[in-house]
């Protein structure tokens, strides 16, 4: 998969709600025959991840529970919450890219209420090493925490 296609996929997700995006991701993952292909895809996603501004790559923004370093930054653009992130490991970046594609540019309340069952559907958890799987749980939790914080601010 080349990065042009990846960018297009990101673009396609624009304007869709969380549930629609999740269904789209589940569809994409069902096309792969084996886990090496899924890894290749995640690596491409990782490489195309909208990078976090360097000023936000601080220790405060590191997600605890990941064995590789993961930084996440969130800010409101209008009514929507926009996430940017980075990691020092590329497959981890791919995982964050999937999460960010799902949750970024959405209303905080929608993020808080979103079901995350799609992660199990695409088999991300079972095919990641336990340390990464724990990291995945931490990442989802952190994104939802940001949404809660910003929702409180909006109220």
């Amino acid at each position: 998969m080349n990065s042009n296609k990846t960018c297009r996929i990101f673009a396609q997700s624009q304007g869709m709600n969380i549930k629609e995006i999740q269904e789209e991701i589940v569809d994409e993952f069902s096309m792969f025959e084996d886990w090496m292909q899924r890894y290749e895809y995640m690596i491409e996603l990782g490489k195309s991840l909208p990078l976090i501004d360097v000023q936000y790559k601080t220790d405060d923004n590191i997600i605890k529970g990941c064995q590789s370093k993961v930084w996440v930054h969130a800010e409101l653009e209008g009514d929507n919450l926009v996430f940017t992130a980075d990691s020092d490991a590329i497959i981890t970046k791919g995982i964050i890219a999937i999460l960010i594609r799902t949750f970024s540019n959405q209303k905080p309340m929608d993020i808080i209420e979103a079901d995350t069952g799609f992660i199990d559907e695409i088999g991300l958890k079972e095919h990641l090493s336990p340390t990464r799987a724990n990291g995945l749980v931490s990442m989802v939790k952190q994104l939802k925490m940001y949404a809660i914080a910003y929702q409180t601010q909006l109220n």
């Binding site: 090496m36 890894y39 064995q67 020092d88």
Partner: protein, 408 residues
């Protein structure tokens, strides 16, 4: 040349786990420095224990208890013989190296005073750093560090400079888990003894490859984990010279470790029971003995020779991959290769290798100071045992090449 007594096909058949598949590929197990696999001879002993004579030891009047006690004490004798301890009283069963080290660190709490100095090497596992830091916090003693060079070898001249009449204890691993370096422990022990300091050598990584003779080394404490040498997890030993073990207070209070208990005063049991409070890992201890029998039947010299061939082959093949750097290039090392490729994160390589059925360790290997020294977040570590083969190493090399092409 490998002696004819070393039959790799026969040996591999002893390890049932080597037949399994991982992610649809035959398992290639190269995480031996984390834990070794278990031969059926040891598994049989575990099954036999729970099937036939499971009982608590050292206290029962009945037959099962007597049988279990006999086997457990026989295992202690096997361990004594293997490490050539002067007496079986000097072999304390523990839950493993970490427990053994904590036992000594705790014991020294009452023997150290403020400004005493303890020396530790720069390439220790966290389990041989943190207990001493805690000891320093409790006693006001000061921790000094023996530095290493870029090859991952300790700089002995610097060590000699650290020694003084303030030095009370020296701690060092026999073999580094992160780098595979075999440390010059004989010189380290001798220099420490010249100023009357005690020495603890962490033998966790050495014991599967090198048969240490504690009397010849004249070491004061030596620690071993059974699970690194074909035995079960949760059991190991602390070897301690009798004079030291008598000096140290007991680590834990409880059953087994007492001679007499009244509410006014308790007197402690003799060695080794003074340090073995509570019901021990009986089955584990017996299985540890069986693991030593198994490895000794093959022979440690034969094992070392074969593993060295694996190390040389793997080093040469991995270095043929452009951009691959090996950390730990000491002249004398065990079959451990820690590496990175350019700036690819070790987790990424490890994740892809896992999908190919290859088990390696990635990360800082519980030796963050070593990683800080090389200014890296971690490495990929492939560690080989005598049941591994060159064919498996070829699969690793192909896997690493594939990971590199995906990740770069």
């Amino acid at each position: 040349m490998i002696q004819t007594s070393f039959n790799i096909d026969k040996i591999r058949k002893d390890f049932p786990i080597l037949n399994r598949e991982v992610n649809g590929k035959p398992l290639v197990y190269f995480d031996n420095a984390a834990t070794s696999q278990t031969p059926k001879q040891v598994i049989d002993v575990i099954v036999d224990y729970y099937s036939n004579y499971n009982a608590n030891i050292h206290r029962g009047v009945h037959t099962l208890s007597q049988e279990a006690t006999d086997k457990y004490e026989q295992a202690r004798l096997k361990i004594q013989k293997h490490f050539n301890a002067a007496s079986s009283d000097e072999i304390i069963f523990t839950s493993g190296t970490t427990h053994s080290i904590n036992m000594v660190a705790n014991g020294f709490s009452s023997l150290l005073k403020k400004e005493d100095e303890i020396i530790v090497s720069a390439m220790e596992h966290h389990s041989n750093i943190v207990p001493w830091q805690m000891l320093c916090e409790r006693t006001g003693a000061i921790l000094k560090v023996i530095p290493m060079n870029q090859e991952g070898e300790l700089i002995l001249e610097e060590y000699y400079k650290l020694l003084s009449d303030k030095t009370k204890l020296v701690f060092c691993n026999h073999v580094s888990n992160a780098l595979g370096t075999v440390n010059p422990i004989k010189e380290i022990i001798e220099a420490a003894h010249n100023i009357d300091a005690a020495v603890l050598i962490d033998g966790a990584q050495a014991a599967p490859h090198i048969r240490a003779d504690v009397q010849e080394l004249d070491v004061d404490f030596y620690t071993v984990s059974a699970h690194k040498m074909c035995g079960p997890t949760g059991v190991g030993i602390l070897y301690g010279k009798e004079e030291w073990l008598n000096k140290l207070p007991p680590y834990q209070g409880g059953g087994e470790m007492i001679a007499e208990v009244t509410f006014e005063k308790t007197t402690y049991a003799e060695l080794p029971h003074k340090f073995e409070a509570g019901t021990p890992n009986i089955c584990g201890g017996i299985a540890f003995g069986a693991a030593l029998d198994y490895m000794n039947a093959i022979g440690f010299e034969v094992i070392a020779q074969y593993e060295n061939e694996l190390l040389e082959y793997a080093t040469q093949e991995l270095l043929s991959i452009e951009g691959l750097r090996i950390y730990g290039t000491a002249a004398h090392k065990t079959a451990v290769i820690s590496f990175n490729i350019e700036d690819i994160h070790p987790y990424d390589i490890g994740s892809i290798l896992d999908k190919l059925g290859i088990a390696v360790r990635t990360g800082h290997h519980c030796a963050q100071p070593v990683m800080d020294f090389f200014k890296i977040p971690g490495t990929v570590r492939a560690s080989f045992n005598f049941y591994n083969t060159k064919e498996e190493i070829a699969i690793l090399v192909e896997g690493v090449k594939r990971a590199k092409s995906m990740l770069l």
